[in-house]
Symmetry: C3
Subunit: 222 residues, 3 copies
């Protein structure tokens, strides 16, 4: 049990084999830390979480060759009832709210906030100091750069033909400093330019140029 020196564990915690918990780590009650998880110094995980999940699917879902390691850096705070997959890395000082879910092959850079019940799908990268608010849905194959603000309940998709024909899945690209208002809808593959603003409730069917402000359904410049 040498790898658990200076670690605080709640009641009924389950820790599988091949787990590395560094000094100062705290794990809440009833949380499950699965095989292959590495949690660095002073990171705190809440109660009833499931950390280090291996991807699976049914016969109608795409395969996956992700790494079997989950790396959570120093001073991360993870809420309660959270699920995080293996094959993902989470940077220093990141905050992840209660009920959030983060899939495999995701990279989240330092100081970013992921709101409660937000969902980050597979193969997505999120930059530094972003704010992803409550109940945001970040689809798979999305690129979010640094200091992006995504308001509550924003929805994205990555499948242009909704399963009707072959298509390379492609989520949005959201450039540095862009802001997306609450409950906006982003279609597959759109780019939101640097420092652009998407209004609350807007439906973005085409890319938005840097610093532009776009509102309405369909979205048009203000």
């Amino acid at each position: 049990m040498g790898q658990f020196k200076g670690v605080t564990l709640g009641g009924n915690v389950i820790i599988e084999e091949d787990v590395l918990l560094e000094e100062g780590v705290e794990i809440g009650h009833n949380s499950v830390i699965l095989k292959g998880t590495h949690i660095k110094k002073n990171t705190k995980i809440g109660n009833n979480c499931v950390i280090g999940i291996k991807p699976q699917g049914n016969n109608r879902m795409r395969g996956n060759n992700s790494s079997t390691t989950l790396l959570i850096s120093e001073n991360v705070k993870i809420g309660n009832l959270v699920s995080i997959y293996s094959g993902t890395s989470i940077g220093q000082n990141v905050f992840i709210g209660d009920h959030a879910s983060i899939r495999e092959n995701v990279a989240i850079d330092q100081d970013t906030v992921v709101g409660r019940a937000a969902i980050i799908e597979l193969n997505t990268t999120i930059g530094k100091a972003c704010t992803i608010q409550t109940l945001v849905y970040v689809t798979g194959d999305t690129i979010i750069e640094d200091r992006v603000f995504i308001g509550p309940c924003v929805s994205m998709s990555n499948d242009k033909y909704m399963g009707k024909q072959e298509f390379e899945l492609k989520g949005p690209i959201i450039k540095t400093g862009a802001c997306i208002g609450n409950n906006a809808t982003l279609l597959p593959g759109v780019t939101i330019g640097e420092e652009a603003i998407v209004g609350a409730g807007a439906v973005i069917t085409k890319s938005v140029i840097p610093k532009d402000i776009v509102i309405g359904n369909p979205g048009r410049p203000l």
Copy 2:
């Protein structure tokens, strides 16, 4: 314990009386299997799930006489932190994502995918090989036929007068092969015809004829 032959149970699993687990079933850590649940061969349930919940309400919610049995068929995969009610049946090879919730008196036919954090309300039927994506809200009293695609964050409702007067609750009817784009809004009782397409972010106030394509707020043919 004869009924648990060939079953794999995680740590701290709770199994109440009157539960039947067939050979090859796997139950993750900290999951709770409540009275009256029957899980068929080779089905896998993740960690921290609650399976077989009995309906309850407060003095302002409608009553319910559902069956006390939950039937989950062969080769089903259920994620983590999922809740499923009694009085429901789930077909072979269904996949149910993490954080999803499925109410009582629901029938989901084989090969369907229910995305993560999707919610299926009571008295709803879902056909074969449907894709219900992440964070979709399927209201009560809804009929979804076969091979329907529902994109992320789609919202439905079934109460035309929003609690202001008596009304027979009636969800949408979504016919075979229809596709609904992400974050679309469906009003009570609308029918989406066979192979019709509803655009992302559209607000559907009237029924859509087969093969039509409808976009905008309010929705109109393209």
Copy 3:
């Protein structure tokens, strides 16, 4: 253990110190009741819940001085996989659905229903006999009066400048008897007047006068 007289506890329940459970309280399996929680007579809490969470944040989130007590009144029903923070009070006969999350400094008055996976953010007050349906997002600093109906997936925000400049955070004010249709979007600080109706999918950028009916994007009187 005198404070647990007449209380029913499921398996693997964790109860921290300084918890008061009155007669007739029931706690489901694998639930966690944290320090400073007081639960009154005949209240029922489901399985795998986390109750009485202390607020925390990272270096980019606002501080909080909330009380360390959570008060849940008589005859409340709380579902499964629910999270509730300390510094909050929940009135008699309230119903809280599965997967819901309620933050600190929230007051919910008697007979109100909070739907499954609904999220109520901090510093918010909700009146008597309201219906907050499934997956609703109630932002921080919101005032909801009595007998308000909020349909599924309604989204609100409280940050006019999306983190770009200083701004007093201000959620919507929703007056007595107002109804909000499903997947509507409310911008920061708007007032929805008494008995007003907001249509499904509407985007509300300006306040709505009493008894008015507003639809569309942007919202305009019918």
